[in-house]
Symmetry: C2
Subunit: 471 residues, 2 copies
């Protein structure tokens, strides 16, 4: 999407943007009319001369004029040329100020040259052709009622194949009637937060390190969030027994975010034991469970006790966050409350998108995509480990057995300096302490490196940039 400026008439500039030249020209002309820069009645240059000015084919301009005439923005009369229509043009409402002057497209300046922030898969690898195929099949096969208001739990077709997939790939005890499709993990967590609060839960324990955006969702629901201690075996779930007000615990058991380890089996059992003894719930955030490189994926905690664990999965890491497709597998006792919180006419994912994803799963395209990405990410991880070892012997890479990110442990006190240096070099990078719970003292310095984030073409450059900023 190039930004071209064309001089128009005496002093009128048109910003051409949008996917095509014709569309860009139409957008620019509409914008000029809307903003009053082109007043009603003004005669536009001939398509031939404007095409010459812009260096585009004459037909492009002629087509744009014709469409704008059809839309009522312009008029064309024999002998009078093309003019801005006299119709009532939407004007800037009174009092419109600075905000309206902001251009609709984001400026490119200010974007970092390389991005190693965690939390996003390689977006350039989205399987567009396979997705489109699934979309065509889904759209063709969909019953008419799929276009209507649906079951608040989501399409039964998707819940059915998801139940099979989760049982097979993640060891989840899933049944379609206990699955609720939601618009991303955050939507699910928000619903669970509301349900917990309605059950008079006041506190949800969280891990020492995690995502403040998720904690904030629970805080908004009125919950307090004490932190669990953390050691080399992972989150110290035995501490739950001593936390009297806690009604649930939010955990990344298969792959701690951001530190990277799998929860020790004893700790897994301790979490379940606590939930059984106290009547509490474990909220299992299984955000990237599909990606494990050196051995079999760690099965979901939910398999240990489906009645005490809320399993939350997502397509955001395995496929793309832009889909906004996630799922919860709920204890039976929670289904009605979550559905009530969602509401019978509540927002949800598009049914077409759900059916497309169901078809994508059913056809095996999802398995193939995950396998291909696993190989690619594994290769990147190996390169990361190798390069960092070569360039910065003081830096240890940890949390590398799984997932889309690794933690680079820095010598004490070095984190802020490295982050400053990265910012200076145009490398987007996040420090470990950004993910630290406010009650947990700072004991280590590090970087959380999302090695999945860059496209393939940018990976080598991003890795070199990273090595340059390491001590």
């Amino acid at each position: 999407m190039a930004n071209d400026w064309a001089t128009f008439g005496s002093d009128l500039h048109l910003e051409l943007r949008g996917p095509g030249l014709r569309t860009g020209l139409m957008d620019a002309l509409r914008e000029a009319v809307r903003s009053g820069r082109l007043e009603a009645g003004v005669r536009l240059p001939s398509s031939r001369s404007l095409a010459a000015d812009l260096g585009v084919a004459r037909n492009t301009v002629a087509d744009a004029y014709a469409e704008l005439v059809a839309e009522g923005w312009l008029t064309a009369r024999q002998g009078s040329g093309t003019r801005v229509a006299q119709r009532a043009v939407p004007r800037r409402p009174a009092g419109a100020g600075a905000r309206q002057a902001v251009p609709a497209s984001r400026p490119r300046t200010g974007r970092p040259a390389y991005d190693l922030k965690p939390g996003v898969p390689d977006l350039a690898s989205f399987p567009r052709a396979e997705w489109l195929k699934a979309s065509r099949r889904a759209l063709t096969a969909a019953p008419h009622e799929a276009f209507g208001y649906g079951d608040p739990r989501g399409r039964i077709e998707l819940r059915t194949v998801l139940a099979e997939y989760l049982a097979r790939a993640r060891g989840v005890h899933a049944r379609p009637e206990r699955i609720v499709i939601c618009s991303g993990f955050v939507h699910g967590l928000m619903l669970i937060g509301q349900v917990l609060r309605a059950r008079r839960v006041r506190e949800v324990a969280v891990e020492s390190y995690g995502l403040d955006e998720h904690w904030e969702l629970l805080r908004r629901a009125g919950l307090r969030l004490p932190a669990l201690p953390f050691d080399e075996l992972g989150t110290w779930t035995e501490a739950l027994g001593g936390m009297k007000g806690v009604g649930a615990v939010l955990m990344t058991a298969a792959h701690q975010f951001p530190l990277g380890g799998a929860l020790h089996p004893d700790r897994r059992v301790a979490a379940i034991d606590w939930a059984r003894a106290s009547g509490g719930l474990v909220l299992e955030d299984d955000y990237d469970g599909e990606f494990r490189y050196d051995r079999q994926p760690v099965g979901a905690l939910q398999g240990l006790d489906p009645e005490r664990v809320v399993y939350l999965g997502t397509s955001s890491k395995s496929l793309a966050p832009g889909l906004r497709l996630a799922w919860m597998v709920l204890p039976e006792s929670l289904v009605d409350e979550v559905v009530a919180a969602k509401g019978t006419v509540d927002w949800m994912c598009s049914s077409l998108e759900q059916l497309t994803f169901a078809e994508f799963l059913r056809s095996g395209a999802y398995d193939r995509h995950v396998r291909a990405m696993r190989l690619r990410y594994r290769r990147r991880r190996d390169e990361l480990v190798e390069k960092v070892a070569a360039h910065s012997p003081d830096t240890t890479v940890s949390g590398i057995a799984a997932g889309l990110h690794a933690v680079l442990r820095l010598p004490p006190g070095q984190e802020p300096e490295v982050l400053r240096s990265a910012a200076w070099q145009g490398l987007a990078l996040l420090g470990l302490n950004r993910f630290r719970h406010p009650d947990v003292p700072q004991t280590q310095d590090g970087l959380v490196v999302g090695y999945a984030t860059p496209p393939d073409s940018g990976w080598a450059g991003a890795l070199s940039a990273l090595c340059r900023v390491l001590p």
Copy 2:
């Protein structure tokens, strides 16, 4: 989707469901394994004999077996036949009871033969081919970043074409930076409710008749909902001046739901005057503004004062509720608060779906679809008026100038009797008083007939069924 039952082995029944025979067979076999009806190690009949039992091609069974072997549900060994695998099979968790016994697909029994409930367009008319075309173009043209986490307001491509469309078709003063895409009208209303409550608004006035589901969303946000009086000119907005605690008013100005009229021009002005004088907001629910039959569509109220009106539009009536695509055009002063309520990582519509809709709008497919549906609905409306007049002279049809529904006024006291008779005949129908605000006394009997709801093939039958239950 036929439901066939096949006897399997001695006494095992397989329910074949799903889009294809092979899929259906696979589903049924997985379900039999999962539920324990087929135990680990059990030998399945040969594909030849099962195919004969089921009356399907042998390859269908062989393919289903092969896929289930690949998925790990079955094993196949030379000389030993096909058996249920010894793998750890997900079992029903302890304590699972009645809920799990519910079949995944909904029973057909109990569905009404005809449906004239309002609120849903003709789902059979969803423009699948055009949508798929737009989807292909959008998926091809999408920048990589479209697959990532996005602007909480929604994709700029969609907000840009929507701004143009709303200005042209609905007279809305829209600019892309003031538009927030949401997952259906209810999602938008929920966000506005939260923002109003955070601004310490305590009451939102509503119309005498409306949708309790919408009111409930505002009540959940902690708002009280006093009702405005109603007369032949529409909602009596002059009364707002006397309602001291009210900070906003929710209105269907272009087409009152369900009564059907357009708000009188004086009443429109009164609503805006009140908002200006009191600093209040008008929440304009423009749910079916595109559909007007006898004259030009009534422009949006928002055009009168974009700084005092929150405009809420949706694709649910013009296209399909299953898309979950709606939009708000916000006063400048409200944008930041709504975005904050949505949250920087908040759920939203899929970006692919947004880009598809943007392309659908841009290409003119949306205009063409709306025009085609307008003709079709108008024809149905004319038939409704004609048939009702012929069959039930005591019934008046009103609210017919626009929209997808009409109100049939019944002689006093007849509403419950007609509804009972409809239920008996398998005709889904809603009475007017279902939509009455709890504070408003019952003064009229009637039916709210959604003549858009049936598919074309079911329309004549639905209309005849309706005429049979009228007095």
